[in-house]
C-alpha cells in the first residue's frame, strides 16, 4: 500500500510535529515554559477546552445509548455505534489531556487510593474512570464482530442492560459535576456564570451538545466516508435538539431572573460581550433556525444549526473557565501557542483514530447486518410527515 500525501494528511503531520515539540517543552521544561498559566490563572485552555468541553463533546454516546436502548427510539439505531466510538475516543483523549495538564501526572493513580469523598474533582475522576470502562465494553462488540467471535458478543449482550444503566447513571453524575466544580468559587467567578444551578446547566448543555454533535458527526462522516445521509435520523435529532435548546434557554433565563441578573445581562461590558456571543450561538441562531420546518428537513441547514449549538456551548464553558475569572484576577489570560498546539494535537489524534476505527471495524456496516436480522421498522415517510409537529 502506497502512502499518498493529501492536503489533510499534510495538515495532520504539521499539527503532530508542532504538538510533539510542545510535548517536549511540557515534560522537559515544565508547565511554566509551555503555558501562560500563572498563580493567578492556574487553570487555562487545557482545563477549559480539553476537559470541560471535551467531556461535553463526547456526550453523544450516552445520549444515543439512552435514546435507543432506554427509550427504544429504534430509528436512531444507525448512529449508536459511531456515537459510542466518539465517546470512547473522547474520554480516552480527555485522560491524555489530563496527563498534560496535571503537574504530577505520574501520580494520577493516587486518585484510586487517596480518595477524598468531599471533593467534586474526586467524583468526576472516579466517574470518568468507570464510565470509560463502561464505554470500552459498549465498544467491544465492534471488535468481536470483526473477529467473528460470537461467544464474546453473546456475553456483552447479556450484560448490556447493566452497561446501559450504569453508563447513563455515571454520565448524569459527572456531566453535572463538572459544573459543581465551580460551586466553591462564589467570590471569584463572575455572577453571569456563577449560579447554584451550574450542575443542572452542565447536564442540560451536555444533552443538547450530545444531540448536536451526533448531527454534526453523521453529516461529516457521510461526506468523508461517502455514505448516504440517514434523513429520518437527522430529522429526529433536529427535533430533539430544538426541545433540548428550549429547555436550556428557559432554565437559563429563569436563573437570570431569579438572581436579579436580567438588568445587567443587557448592559454592555467586557463580560457581557462574551455572554451575548454565547447566547446568540447557543440559543438565538439554532432555535431561530430549527423553528422552521424547512430547516428541520434540510440536512445542510440542520448541520449549520448543530455547529452553532456546539460552538455556543463551547463558548459557554470557556466563558466559565477563563473569561469569568478575569475580573477577579485583574488581568487577561491568553493561551500560549504551545498550549493551542497540544490541544490541536489531541483533536487531530481523535480524528485520525476515528478514521482508522471506521476503516477496520464494523462501525457503519452494522446497520445492514442489523436490518437483516430484525424486521424493517416503518420509519421513512411516517417520520418525515410528523417531524414538524
Amino acid at each position: 500500500m502506497k502512502f499518498k500525501l493529501t492536503f489533510w494528511r499534510v495538515i495532520f503531520l504539521v499539527i503532530m510535529a508542532l504538538g510533539l515539540y510542545s510535548s517536549f517543552v511540557r515534560y522537559f521544561r515544565g508547565l511554566g515554559a509551555v503555558s501562560n498559566m500563572t498563580d493567578q490563572f492556574p487553570w487555562g485552555l487545557w482545563i477549559g477546552f480539553d476537559c470541560l468541553c471535551g467531556v461535553m463533546l463526547a456526550a453523544g454516546g450516552f445520549c444515543m445509548v439512552g435514546a435507543v436502548y432506554l427509550f427504544n427510539v429504534e430509528r436512531l439505531h444507525p448512529v449508536v455505534r459511531p456515537a459510542v466510538l466518539t465517546a470512547f475516543l473522547g474520554y480516552l483523549l480527555f485522560i491524555v489531556g489530563l496527563l498534560f495538564d496535571l503537574g504530577r501526572p505520574w501520580f494520577i493513580w493516587h486518585q484510586m487510593i487517596y480518595m477524598n469523598p468531599h471533593s467534586v474533582m474526586f467524583e468526576v475522576g472516579f466517574c470518568v474512570m468507570t464510565y470509560t470502562t463502561v464505554l470500552f465494553f459498549e465498544f467491544l462488540p465492534n471488535v468481536f464482530e470483526r473477529l467473528n467471535w460470537n461467544k464474546g458478543i453473546k456475553v456483552i449482550k447479556k450484560i448490556y442492560p447493566v452497561l446501559i444503566v450504569a453508563g447513563i447513571l455515571l454520565s448524569t453524575l459527572h456531566q453535572s459535576s463538572l459544573g459543581s466544580l465551580y460551586l466553591i468559587m462564589p467570590s471569584k467567578l463572575h455572577p453571569f456564570w456563577y449560579t447554584p444551578a451550574m450542575p443542572f446547566f452542565f447536564f442540560g448543555s451536555a444533552v443538547a451538545v450530545g444531540l448536536a454533535m451526533t448531527i454534526f458527526e453523521s453529516t461529516q462522516s457521510a461526506k468523508a466516508f461517502g455514505r448516504q445521509l440517514e434523513l429520518p435520523v437527522l430529522v429526529t435529532l433536529g427535533g430533539a435538539l430544538l426541545v433540548a435548546l428550549w429547555v436550556n434557554l428557559l432554565l437559563r433565563m429563569e436563573d437570570f431572573y431569579h438572581r436579579g441578573m436580567l438588568s445587567q445581562v443587557f448592559k454592555p461590558s467586557y463580560e457581557a460581550y462574551f455572554l451575548w456571543l454565547e447566547l446568540a450561538l447557543t440559543f438565538v441562531i439554532p432555535i431561530g433556525m430549527l423553528s422552521f420546518k424547512k430547516v428541520r428537513l434540510s440536512p445542510p441547514l440542520l448541520y449549520l444549526a448543530s455547529i452553532s449549538t456546539v460552538l455556543g456551548f463551547i463558548t459557554n464553558r470557556l466563558n466559565i473557565a477563563l473569561i469569568g475569572f478575569e475580573s477577579f484576577v485583574g488581568h487577561h489570560y491568553e493561551p500560549k501557542w504551545t498550549e493551542f498546539s497540544i490541544t490541536l494535537m489531541i483533536i487531530a489524534i481523535g480524528f485520525a483514530a476515528f478514521g482508522v476505527a471506521v476503516k477496520y471495524l464494523p462501525i457503519f456496516e452494522s446497520e445492514k447486518a442489523h436490518k437483516l436480522e430484525e424486521p424493517e421498522i416503518p420509519v421513512g415517510a411516517g417520520v418525515l410527515s410528523h417531524a414538524g409537529d
Partner: protein
Amino acid sequence: MSKAILYDSTLCIGCKQCEGACAQQNKLPYDDNVAAESVQSAHKFTVVLTKEDKYMRRLCMHCEKPACASVCPVGALHKTTAGPVVYDVWKCIGCRYCMVACPFGQPKYEWGSLNPRVQKCIMCPDRVAAGKQTACAEICPTGATKFGERDELIAEAKKRLADNPANYKQRIYGLDEVGGTSVLLIAGVNVEEFGYPASAKLGETPMPEYTGRVMERIPDFIPLWTLVLGGIYWVSHRRDEVAAAEAVEKNGGRQ
C-alpha cells in the same frame, strides 16, 4: 483548642524579619532581591506590603473549614486539629484545584519545576506540635505578629480595638469571613486596600458548604436514578415483548 496568628498592622514596622524567618524555616532562598518582591510566590510564603506608612502581611489564612482541603481529590491538604492547614506532597497529583478554589488565592505553584509542588504557608506544623511559636511570630520584634490560642487572640484583638478605638478600624478580619480563619487581622485601614478580598464578597458561609449541598445528595441520587433508569428500560422493552406476544396470538399461535 486550635492555634492561630494575630497580625496587628498598627504595631508593624515593616522590617520584614518575618519574611526572612519564614524562608529559613521552609528552606527557601532569601536575599535582598526576594525581600524586594512584593508578591507571594512558590518561594515566598508571606509578604509584608507597604503603602505610605502602613504595613500589611499576607499569608495563608488557615481557614477553619478550608476550601483547598475540601476540593483536593486525593486529600493532599488537610486542616490539623492544632490549626495549621498542611500539605502532603507525596499525595498531590498537581491538579491545582486548591489554587482555583482558595478564596484568598494563597496556594502557589512551582511552575518552573518538572515535579512541581503546591506551596503556601503551613503555619510551621512541626514547631506548633513541639509547643513552639511559628517562626514569624517568634522573630517579630514588635509583637505585630502574635501566635497563640485562637480564642485568646480574639479576646486580645477585641481589647485592643476597644482600648484604642481611634487607631483601628473596628473589625477583626478572619473572625467570621468564610466561617472563620486561623489568621486574624486588625489594622488602622481596611485590609481590602492591600488586596484582601472584601468581607461582603466572601460571606460567612464556609466554602466547602457550597459544594457540600450538592455532594450530600449523591448517595440518595444514585439508587434513585438507577431505579428510574432501570424502570424505563424495563417498561420500554416490556412493550416490545408484549407486542411480539400479541403478534404471535393474532397469527393463531403460529410464529
